[in-house]
Assembly symmetry: C2
Homo-oligomer: 682 residues x 2
Amino acid sequence: MSLRAVTVALVAASLPLAAAPARADEGMWTFDGFPAAKMRKDYGWAPDQKWLDNVRASAVRLTGGCSASFVSADGLILTNHHCVVDCAQNLSTQASDLVANGFTAQTRAEERKCPGQQAEVVTMITDVTKDVKAAIGTAMGEALVKARDARIAEIEKAGCKDTATMRCQVVTLFGGGQYKLYTYRKYSDVRLVWAPEFQAAFFGGDPDNFNYPRYALDASFLRAYENGKPVKLKQYLKWNPRAPREGEATFVVGNPGSTQRLFTTDQLAFQREVQLPITNRVLSELRGRLLSAMEQSPEKKREGGDTLFGIENSLKVYVGRQSALNDPKFFNALADAEGDLKAKSAGNAAIGDPWGQVAGAVKAYRDVYLSYRFTQPSGDLYGYAEDLVKAAIEREKPNAEREPGYTDSALPLLEKQVLDEKPTYPWLERIWLEWSLSKAREYLGADDADTRLLLGKESPEGLAARLVEGSRLADPAVRKALWEGGMAAIRASNDPLIQYALKLEPRQRELKKVVDERYQGPLTAAGAKLADARFAAYGDALYPDATFTLRISYGKVAGWLERGAMVAPVTTMGGAFDRATGAEPFVLAKAYTANEAKIDKTTPYDFVTTNDIIGGNSGSPVVDKDGSVIGAAFDGNIHSLGGNYGYQPEVNRTVVVSTAAVQEALETIYPAPALVKELAAK
Amino acid sequence: MSLRAVTVALVAASLPLAAAPARADEGMWTFDGFPAAKMRKDYGWAPDQKWLDNVRASAVRLTGGCSASFVSADGLILTNHHCVVDCAQNLSTQASDLVANGFTAQTRAEERKCPGQQAEVVTMITDVTKDVKAAIGTAMGEALVKARDARIAEIEKAGCKDTATMRCQVVTLFGGGQYKLYTYRKYSDVRLVWAPEFQAAFFGGDPDNFNYPRYALDASFLRAYENGKPVKLKQYLKWNPRAPREGEATFVVGNPGSTQRLFTTDQLAFQREVQLPITNRVLSELRGRLLSAMEQSPEKKREGGDTLFGIENSLKVYVGRQSALNDPKFFNALADAEGDLKAKSAGNAAIGDPWGQVAGAVKAYRDVYLSYRFTQPSGDLYGYAEDLVKAAIEREKPNAEREPGYTDSALPLLEKQVLDEKPTYPWLERIWLEWSLSKAREYLGADDADTRLLLGKESPEGLAARLVEGSRLADPAVRKALWEGGMAAIRASNDPLIQYALKLEPRQRELKKVVDERYQGPLTAAGAKLADARFAAYGDALYPDATFTLRISYGKVAGWLERGAMVAPVTTMGGAFDRATGAEPFVLAKAYTANEAKIDKTTPYDFVTTNDIIGGNSGSPVVDKDGSVIGAAFDGNIHSLGGNYGYQPEVNRTVVVSTAAVQEALETIYPAPALVKELAAK
């Protein structure tokens, strides 16, 4: 449930060795760098290029921050339920609640389009490192960032002529050590096909999230359309609804969002001492505000559900990170790994002292961090306003001079996300805005110039109410007119949120400039040197930190030793019935209770593997040696949270919902005979 | 606003040196250990015994966690508004809101009794160190704790024959290095006399709390009664409504609640790594839950006001502590001071290795900490239930075998607090209980045995609703019957909260036993050795950590250097008018606006001094060389939060409301001619 890429605001047995070469099943490998020799050594077998090519062609990235896979010739997509829950919520009303009740399209005509959703498949990876590094040259600070971003904008634009079906994205790997152009085939009409009840998908709720054993049917199906018809595919994964076998090799193919395994100890200390404590406090307060508000009515409970899940999920992630960095053994192991790399790099003049450069950049960032962070209000409506204002400003510039999110290669998806119709809830918008303004005042101080810019003489409560009540940005037609009208329309708008975003924009730009000059620029320069140091010390069989781009991880089905007892790797559907208490979140879904007699309780439900994953991998197909899908990764165990900084092979586990359980659900619990037939097609 | 002793749940220019002798104006001195020679050296003057005796006899402790002073022969008590706000809230209804509107008793007949409040004056301090240490002998672990507590119970009982007017309390100083019997004259009928509007007392609200410059009239008056009449006093502080003078000597006389300056680095690391992160997250969530709930209606906003203040105040304290311990320079200075003491103690066989003993105790405590902490639900109603159950159980035992809170010397105040009539709000009780049960499940895990004990098969939401709706403990008559009925009544009660507290009690007792055996016992043994080490290394001119017992601090009126600019030490009442924005919490109080023309805006309002104080000092008289009161301490500046661990003379400041401002208010803003006359009496 946890593995959607963390988008809000921003661990014990063996210890992580982040900078050193990958051990055991560690590694989120790029498809152009799969360590076949290493795997063959450990497993006696490794996939060949044809196997890799077919899996890659079947792997789907979802723009909501998830992974997925094609599982039929007709564009059927397997992913997690928690990756479609925002779609289900957007398509729901109080009278027709697709989240609570689930959704099954018995025919393709009943399949329903997901607002803002896009599916993407990598078709090509091109190394553009020399090109980008040449453009950077000897530039430093903000000039480095500008030169890099300008060249990236040009490469992306040149790479994708047909922006209706293609997307180009240059990815920075190893913190500036490599640049690769990823070319995607994109599908911007994605429809909801099948989703179980929320209570089946998220049985155990937040208490069970990131825990195991689990009993969650966290799976759903989408379908990619083009020109109003399901897309026709030649390559997709074969559906195999069989039981996982303890010890068998498994591959997770998906898009891990972000890791920080190559961070220096100065960066980690900043996270531990400043960033994570603040994040966890402010998110905890937001959670409390939302919980109380949702208790006011069943409607608010429904409307706030997906937001609450996102906040609680992020909070658990960040709390796990804070705990990991606050564990002296864990932190010291990372420091030791850094020491090893420093020792191996000593005397190499070409490398110099990138650690010192990073330390200086972090020190400078500490001074501007609170201003940079808290001059950014929250909320969907404010987000629309900011995107409309910034897109209008940036579109008046040549492509290569724009901020990265507003280049020609980025605009089509942004436009779709801003203009697609989806519901907003004024009470929820007020909570977001009031909370973010109130926290800004708290952390910047009531007398700070940025607080005065944000609030003027108003209170966070009063300002949030005025902006939300007065804005018409909830109406997609209003947004469309502002998007198409450009700067003239923005300047002429009397929408209070547009005016507000326009007022904040110069200060946000000024702060970004400072951060680019003092922090991002120096980090990128140092990142290139740190990458050189690693390649020199450990060879090139290294994997880069996660970047929400396609990776493959190999591992096996295996439990782990928890406080002296082995955790069995596979649960059964009957376990859900045993675990149910009748009280939320341990209430059985209605269809489970109704169909109890028919359900084969011995069906494998969820299982764990040693695959190395992180948030963003949600929905990733779990593939066996044959290249068939046997599950969808949906979570990590509690030890996986430290995986942001380092992989611990003995205890870090991926949590998967088995295809066997999905098959049982399709046949017995939420019957979908057409899907069963489609999945069984050879 | 901040200095009420922290009671919820449980951090820089020059750097603190906790273990070393006091520097500059550092020190919360006991009255039997005032460092007259040291002060004379620094200030060219120090108070004599008569001065000290008169001040001590005028100093009042309030059982709500505050300090105060007698300021008239008729038992008039000066304290902070935030020390009486719970009383004002308890006496309020939606129709008559003493918090929002303030309260002035124009005659003594109008003075209103504060539920649960008791005023106490120290009359004698007796050293019982030898006695208690002899009782402990060579006992270790839980046996040590039991032997100590038994002897303390006996000493307290023997010390106070007249429990109607006296209270006896043995205080553990230097973490077990000294034991002193404090004898108090107590007054258990305390009435509200005068309180300004909340908006005057807490102008600037949470954003300004712990900040300065300030413009807050955080002062109120109470009166001690006995036999229905105001008490008659021979000793009290002379009221002097004059302006403070920069550089003049000031004394703060009050009851600092708790400091941790003698903690070892292992104890501090545990706070930084485990305790404070959890506390700040869970309190942040509670704050959010309460904020949203209070926005539902003006009635809830009123009813939750004092609770919200307490939570936000505690949160700021704990966030400040976490920030201090997360500042490597601050933490390393504390570690250096420990290193100095260790070096000076090396080779002293009588001292041994108490640091190692503490480290072992902290390690053991880490294992039981979550269980110990989270098996303790929250809320006033649950608190009544727990007190009733535990008091009934403990009263069946001989005095010396009871838990400390239930000995003969402790029972009278507990009985008053349990039986006094005060309102409870079911919605607020549900939030407290639901939150604490939900956090227990979060931190212990859904499958933990303690979680199962707490929840059974219910959800936190369902259980909290059932317990609060079903309980009759809000009725003081019901509580009285249970208190008087003892175990028989408790066992016979079908009140769900009583049954619940009865169910939890054995496990709570078991956990206390484990904590006493592995943590408290070893800490006390090590504490005695650490005290010996300090006395041997630095002589006996040391002050103990704060214990919510009477202390005196000397210092002077002085600003400080903040980011390159001096902060002026005194504000004026006119500053409040300049700072007002018209939006909460920067709205002027109604009476300020109404009386603006009459108010002398040059009147000194708040001021800062170098006195060393901490939470619990709220309401402390600020006394000049003449022994007159010139203000009431109500806050510390933001740098004072690290003062829990070490005093930083250049930046740590006490924030005081001046008697001049109170006088102006009594004459012009909230007129109270009788009080003006009483205060002016010679």
